[in-house]
Amino acid sequence: MMITLTHYLILAAVLFCIGVFGVVVRRNILIIFMSIELMLSAVNLVFLSFSRYLGTQDGHVWVFMVLTVAAAEAAVGLGIIVALFRNKQTIYVDEVKELKG
């Protein structure tokens, strides 16, 4: 049995959807954030499999960019979470609801 492009794409789609599930269902900000990181990794898997399939390495460059973006977002996001925790002492999004109306 050969492993084909379709195998990899389905695996990436499953992992991406698990990430989406985490973002939609969980209320813990840190875990939501980790789920987003999982989604970005699934994107990398798609880029690399298409890159392998097409035989061009542009996808690899894209993966570099995605990694950088993930790192930048992690830095800023964790900064925001720390600032929130100083104000509210909570890490649950459903307890953060001053804004309503």
């Binding site: 379709t6 992992l15 939609v24 990181e37 035989g55 790192a71 890490i91």
Partner: protein, 165 residues
Amino acid sequence: MMEPIFFYGFGGLAVVTALLMVTRVNPIASAVWLVVCFFAFAALFITLEAHFIGVIQVLLYAGAIMVLFIFVIMLLNIGAEELKARTMQFSGLLGGLVTIYLIVLITLGLLKNPVRFFEPLTEGYGYVAPVGRLLFTKYLVPFELTSVLLLVAIVGSVVMGKRKL
């Protein structure tokens, strides 16, 4: 052929650890499962002949980003009694069903497409050198842009995180 063994082994590991990550109550446990998941990702990248990216995945994701996560979780110092599993009721069920539906939909859509086999490798594919060449010629501007992005991220995290400015 080792290929299917690697694919199913590491792919299965990635899916199982990802599921464990999104279902744990304690964020530390989640973070550790995510690290394992990223290792599985790295192995999958290597099966796709992207050796260098696989190494980077371990160094950067599992090494740097996850350490940052764990550091912040420790910094916030959330006691065990404050941890709540506050999902898994209606919204959890609904979310689960929608996710399964999405997965089935995408899988069917991709399967309808004729199955694509990977071509045999061309000489030089997967080496670091071609990636570097692309980065510094064709993608020079985006490469420089990432440095701006990182600068903005540094400034941003200082602005948000520092106690006194």
